[in-house]
């Protein structure tokens, strides 16, 4: 998040015309962002006789119930569980690996440039090709692609560079004199990390965990060729798009979005409370 309290033009001056122009642009952009989303959230409550477009023919929870009915949608709940499990593992690994790497990158040393550009390359690589390469590799080795091997790996090539870049922003704001102070007070390297560096970086670290979780939870392009037999939720939805033409797709959309909301909302509240507690402690 972007910090700083006072920016730009002083508070007493009148707003320039650019403020209003950009304000209108921003408002229009928000409408553009939310318009279609609101349409599908609304349509997921479509009455049992309604279709995939307006008008609404009554209001019902029919389409949400359909998700959990045995039949065409039978795979959705189990795919959902798989996605959550995979996202949790991806998130944990991303945090550990990218925090360590971001701390390591604070020093320029031989070879660091290569790793950095590999991370950039891994981020910009057309997604499907990553899964293709991994799937091909597994085939050559005679291994079976599966959720916690190839699919996990394919997602890490996506979440790790993101986690790393986010951690760069966090680490840049970190004042190194805290570490020097810990050194001067005789802390060992481990004590310095455990009691000084990590607690200060914690809100940022939680942010990275949350980001990695949602990136993984929504990922389909990298995973599709590396997943093996058991689909994750986005892949299951992808498979449904061509066959399902009822509002049940929208109901799935509404449901998965609320899960994201729940996870991110909880994390935000945790971070916010953490920062407030810290502010109180500093205040004393």
């Amino acid at each position: 998040m972007v910090g700083g309290s006072q920016r730009g033009i002083g508070p007493r001056e009148a707003r320039p015309w650019t403020f209003y122009a950009l304000g209108v642009l921003f408002g229009t952009f928000l409408l553009f962002l939310y318009g279609p989303m609101l349409v599908i959230y609304l349509l997921s409550f479509q009455g049992p006789n309604g279709g995939v477009t307006f008008p609404m023919v009554g209001v019902s929870l029919q389409w949400f119930r359909d998700i959990f009915k045995p039949g065409q949608m039978a795979n959705i709940p189990i795919a959902f569980t798989r996605s959550i499990e995979l996202a949790a593992v991806v998130s944990l690994l991303t945090v550990v690996i990218s925090v360590a790497a971001a701390l390591g990158f604070r020093r320029r040393f031989p070879g660091s440039g290569v790793v950095f550009y590999f991370a950039v390359a891994s981020l910009v690589m057309p997604s499907l090709l990553v899964g293709f390469g991994i799937g091909l590799g597994f085939q050559f080795l005679g291994w079976q692609t599966s959720l916690f091997t190839s699919a996990l790996g394919a997602q890490l090539t996506w979440t790790l560079p993101f986690g790393l870049f986010a951690m760069f922003a966090v680490v840049n704001r970190f004042n190194r004199s805290y570490e020097e102070a810990a050194n001067d007070l005789g802390a060992t390297a481990w004590q310095r990390l455990r009691y000084v560096t990590l607690p200060i970086l914690l809100p940022g670290i939680i942010g990275v965990a949350m980001g990695a979780f949602t990136l993984s939870y929504d990922e389909y392009a990298r995973t599709t060729l590396a997943i093996g037999r058991n689909n994750t939720l986005p892949l299951e939805i992808y498979a449904l798009i061509s066959s399902a033409t009822s509002p049940v797709l929208f109901a799935i959309g509404t449901l998965t979005t609320s899960v994201s909301f729940l996870i991110i909302g909880t994390t935000l509240v945790v971070v916010w409370r953490m920062q407030r507690r810290r502010a109180v402690m500093v205040g004393e």
Binding site: F26, F105, L128, T214
Partner: protein
């Protein structure tokens, strides 16, 4: 008792700095008596003298990342480089060194057409997202005065990002369709009498969906760069008589070019790598490079698919390389 004394700078190695430097060095301050030091941390144990070199520590910290990138990114890429030269038939693939896959790919007119079509989408979407991203970032960073409001507005931009790209793509279908929300609004406002049909399953729909999906990738990095600009610089520019336009061109754009470059790279590569949006939103009228490739993969034609993939990777690498030449992203990111 003497652990504090050990923290004082070690004597310089003879000849390391030369005579003059060693003589002018200020004498270290006298050690503080230990009873005046109150620390919760335990004193450093005597005799612990293992000090790995800083480079070694950094490499250790980077090793998990390097390992993952090597095994899961570099090796697979090498693999399809190798496979792209292989021979194949309907049954399987055979090790060989053939240039046929590349020759076939590069001489088919479809390849060129699809590349041009993808590139066209990439450029149009890049221009729109850059315009939107820069202006939105500017508004949030320089015009919004309270940090809380700014955070809330940022969150408002980020929330749709929490919904899966697939859902966000198909969300446009009931919105843009013939009987969709947008046409209904237009007709009820008497702007058009007939529903507009070019809205859905067209290049227009593809661009709209891309912009919807990727604008945040532009806003984030640019806002991050702009937030580092000292507002005093803008004031100084104004006091020196610069117009708003000049301030933007000569002060803000140069200082936020890292964000612009990063955002551009993200948007550009996302569009070039897409296979879902084009397939879903163009109604089969346009193809993308990767959708062409995924058809080959589904037909188990791995060597031509690999050749196709290599050409795309080289193409994207060149474009990204050009953008990275303009800005030293690493220097700006890792301060």
């Amino acid at each position: 008792m003497n652990w504090i004394a050990k923290r004082s700078p070690p004597p310089l190695a003879a000849g390391g700095w030369g005579e003059g430097a060693a003589q002018t060095r200020v004498a270290p301050p006298p050690p503080i008596p230990p009873d005046q030091v109150r620390s919760r941390l335990l004193p450093r144990r005597e005799g612990v003298s293992f000090r790995p070199s800083p480079w070694l520590i950094s490499w250790f910290q980077l090793s998990p990342l390097s390992l993952v990138l090597l095994v899961l990114f570099a090796l697979p890429t090498m693999l399809f480089l190798v496979v792209s030269f292989f021979d194949y038939d309907r049954v399987g693939i055979y090790p060989a060194f053939l240039l046929d896959n590349y020759r076939e790919l590069l001489t088919t007119p479809t390849t060129l057409r699809v590349y041009i079509s993808s590139l066209k989408f990439a450029v149009v979407v890049w221009a729109i997202t850059l315009f939107l991203g820069f202006n939105i970032a500017w508004f949030l960073i320089f015009h919004i005065r309270s940090a809380t409001t700014r955070t809330v507005l940022f969150l408002l931009c980020a929330i749709p990002f929490w919904t899966s790209g697939i859902i966000r793509t198909i969300a446009w279908i009931p919105f843009l369709g013939r009987n969709g929300a947008f046409n209904t609004i237009l007709q009820s406002l008497d702007i058009t009498s007939q529903p507009l049909t070019f809205l859905l399953f067209s290049d227009f729909a593809v661009v709209v969906t891309y912009v919807h999906l990727f604008t945040l990738l532009m806003v984030g990095p640019i806002a991050n760069s702009m937030a580092k600009i000292d507002p005093a610089l803008l004031e100084a520019a104004r006091d020196a008589g610069a117009s708003r336009w000049r301030t933007m061109v000569d002060v803000v754009i140069p200082l936020s070019k890292t964000g612009i470059a990063l955002g551009s790279i993200l948007v550009f590569t996302q569009v070039m790598g897409d296979y879902f949006v084009v397939k879903q939103m163009s109604g089969g009228q346009s193809a993308s490079i990767v959708s062409m490739l995924s058809t080959e993969i589904q037909a188990m034609q791995y060597p031509p698919a690999s050749a196709n993939a290599m050409v795309l990777v080289v193409f994207v690498a060149i474009m990204v390389g050009c953008m990275m030449r303009i800005v030293d992203v690493r220097k700006e990111l890792v301060k």
